[in-house]
Amino acid sequence: MSERRTITLTVNGQPRDATVETRLTLVDLLREELRLTGTHVGCEHGVCGACTVLVDGEAVRGCLLLAVQADGRHVETVEGLAPDPAHLNALQTELVRHHGVQCGFCTGGILMSLTAMLRDTPRPSEAGIRETLAGHLCRCTGYQGMVDAVLALVAAR
């Protein structure tokens, strides 16, 4: 029993078609079929946050959505953030500057959650930043650098 469906979605502004098994998760579509491997797969039950992507602007777990549920939707991944291959965007730059990155496993998901938060709330409080980061596990940095990075970004605006 392997049902397949052809779907059309927009990924980082580009229309993409894919023929997928209906039980394929969105994150596996992104990684395995579309070869966008910046989105990582950690716990596969919604806890770690590594697979977080934006669907129609909302930060969601890529492991808890079926690819077919993204049919017709706008998906944004970490690959869509930098303006060009040689440069990082302002949030990415601050994250590096404040040591909010180490091994990088959690970073793609964290960047997407912070991106959604900053669109919603351009001037987040420190508590708001921590609330957003609470949906992610990072075993390297202790999170403080990420908080500092967002506060610096907001202060520079």
């Binding site: 998760t25 977080t52 909302e58 930060a59 959505l65 079926l66 549920q69 609330e131 609470a134 949906g135």
Partner: protein, 293 residues
């Protein structure tokens, strides 16, 4: 491919969904926000023959005022949408207080009110809030529907009154009485984790400032939301003094028979239920009298 094979159907009308449930209900799982079912599928702890995805049933996503001053909430209303709703904040402060405690923003973006209720995790906030609010739940099946009080909906651990061919479609919340305040308190190891224990409470005062009605419901302290009736009765008719709220906490603690597990002992949870009941009631009193908690 992590989830086991299943037949996937995504009906576009409620009638179509009900027909599918009538045919396959016993071998089917309803996929709403997916924040509980998808982990079960990814780990192959659930192996349904059919997955009925209700996300295309836009009619079930409504957040609407009810004629009596209450709210009519579609079962598919996203937790994040409810959290952002000015109508919910105005008409049902308890629900607005409970929502930020549910998981994380990234979970609430997909998670639905109806999905949380139908999944009926004993440590979840929304089932307890619905019992405290005396919500009424509409369960539809092909050719019929019935309404069940939230207090009768949760029948056991992860078990509800929903029959295999029924779909939870709407949650009705009664109008918020005058001079009513509410509070939700919980203790979790980390913010966003399932609570070790928690309490949702409402307190309605009469014109003299005495307690006209109290509703106190614990979560994470039993297999279903636990209504602490003795504590509610003890408060009714009296002045909501700190001593009365402390006594209500003592009675709330005595009313629960919580589980022992690796996260906390039963004794700890029993004590927690009482402490959190008093704190939730204190918050409720402050909001009922118009003061900040």
């Amino acid at each position: 491919m992590k989830p086991p094979p299943f037949r996937y159907v995504d009906p576009t009308t409620v009638e179509e969904a009900l027909a599918l449930l009538a045919r396959h209900g016993a071998d089917a799982r309803v996929l709403a926000g997916g924040q509980s079912l998808m982990p079960l599928l990814n780990f192959r702890l659930a192996r349904p023959a059919h997955v009925i995805d209700v996300n295309r049933l836009d009619a079930l996503g409504a957040i609407a005022p009810a004629a009596d001053g209450g709210l009519r909430l579609g079962a598919l209303a996203r937790q994040r949408a409810l959290e952002r709703s000015a109508l919910v904040r105005e008409r049902c402060p308890l629900l607005a207080q409970a929502l930020p405690l549910v998981g994380h923003p990234q979970i609430r973006a997909r998670g639905t009110l109806g999905g949380s209720l139908a999944h009926a995790d004993p440590a979840a906030e929304l089932p307890a809030a619905m019992v405290a609010l005396e919500a009424r739940l509409t369960l539809r099946r092909a050719g019929g529907e019935r309404t069940v009080a939230a207090g009768d909906f949760f029948v056991g651990l992860l078990t509800t009154a929903l029959a295999p061919d029924e779909l939870l479609t709407e949650i009705q919340l009664p109008s918020w009485p005058a001079r009513t305040g509410s509070g939700v308190r919980e203790v979790a190891k980390r913010h966003g984790d399932f609570a070790l224990g928690g309490v949702a409470a409402t307190l309605t005062l009469d014109g003299q400032g005495r307690v006209a009605r109290a509703r106190i419901v614990g979560f994470g302290v039993g297999p279903v939301p636990v209504r602490m009736v003795e504590a509610e009765r003890a408060l009714a008719g009296g002045a909501p003094t700190p001593a009365a709220l402390a006594e209500a906490g003592r009675l709330a603690s005595a009313a629960v028979d919580p589980p022992d597990d690796i996260h906390a002992s039963a004794a700890y949870r029993r004590r927690l239920a009482g402490v959190l009941a008093t704190r939730a009631l204190t918050d409720a009193l402050a909001s009922a009298t118009g003061r900040a908690a």
